[in-house]
Amino acid sequence: MIAIIGLVVGIVLGLFLTPDVPLSMEPYLPIAVVAALDAVFGAFRAFLDGIFDDKVFVISFISNVLIAAMIVFLGDKLGVGAQLSTGVVVVLGIRIFSNVAAIRRHIFHA
């Protein structure tokens, strides 16, 4: 419940403040969002499994976002930014899908 309240508060804050992203950070924002999505779905699955832990969630969320952004940044510097972003999105996408599958099994028992 408190998580949903946090989500709603965050959406409202984002909509009202519309923080300006610095131009240098702009290319890393979408990949950071995908990484954050992966962390959130992983946390939700852990919650349903009954092994959720606040500290793990915080750490996995922040490290996911930072590492995804860093990989893309490194790729940009090496000239393979697009390919590395694709790689990150593929890996995170597979994780998200299998996490959602596990969540589905929990909720619908199917």
Partner: protein, 291 residues
Amino acid sequence: MADELITEEGAREPARLPPQAAMGLLDYLTTHAMDEDYAFVSERKETAEAPEPERPRRRIGAVGALVMALFAVLVVTAAVQTSRNSVSDERDRRELVGQVDQARSQLDGDRALLAATQGEVRRLQSRQLRSDTSAQSLLSRIELLGVRAGTIPVRGPGVRVVADDAPGADNARNEVLDSDLQKLVNGLWEAGAEAISINGQRLTNLSTIRLAGGAITVNARSLRRPYVVSAIGNKDTLPARFAETSSGQAWLDLQREVGLQLKITPVSSLRLPAAEATLRYANQKDQGGAS
């Protein structure tokens, strides 16, 4: 979840390969989709504490909510940024299109004004000069020069020459190039043509035939194939005399070797338009101002 814990433990046995190596990357990714830390931490706590049916640490705390809020801010910011960018891109594009349209219409207006002014000048000239006989000879001289220079529309018999790429042309070798058109026009002048236009662009003493941006450009207007060259002259002798010139020979070779198409048809009456020829720097000796 239970089997995951088993694989976790299996991985820790020294005799077995790590799961990444044994399972292949994709299988590993799907079985370990959730961060292993959750399982690890819960396992550690389970061994440390006595297992309870309801454990408060399994609930989402304020920190978790804070991270959820952070996540929401991140998502909303990304979405807002993307939509804002697309809107500004679209606006830039529209603005550019508008500027191009405006410049084009202004250019058209200027061209029309120029043509109207030139017609007015000619009309005034003929009215002024028709008064006496010396002026009349001057007038006919101006008209002759205008016809020669291409600033006056002319009508007369001649030939229509249609030049086109070889059928199925795919590279510069079997397309009509600017140099081919130059040869064609040179040959026609040599054969006795008195006025020539290409696709409605009258050739003047200032005209160029050149390749610009992949298209042949005459009088700074880009042309599209097929190239229709209208030449006023003796319609009976022009084709034969053209074939005798070196340019005609070159075109014969082009037709035979590369497959370029060239069709010459005599026409009893051709109309060639006038061209814009504005001189800014060239003055007559006895006149001070620009012509």
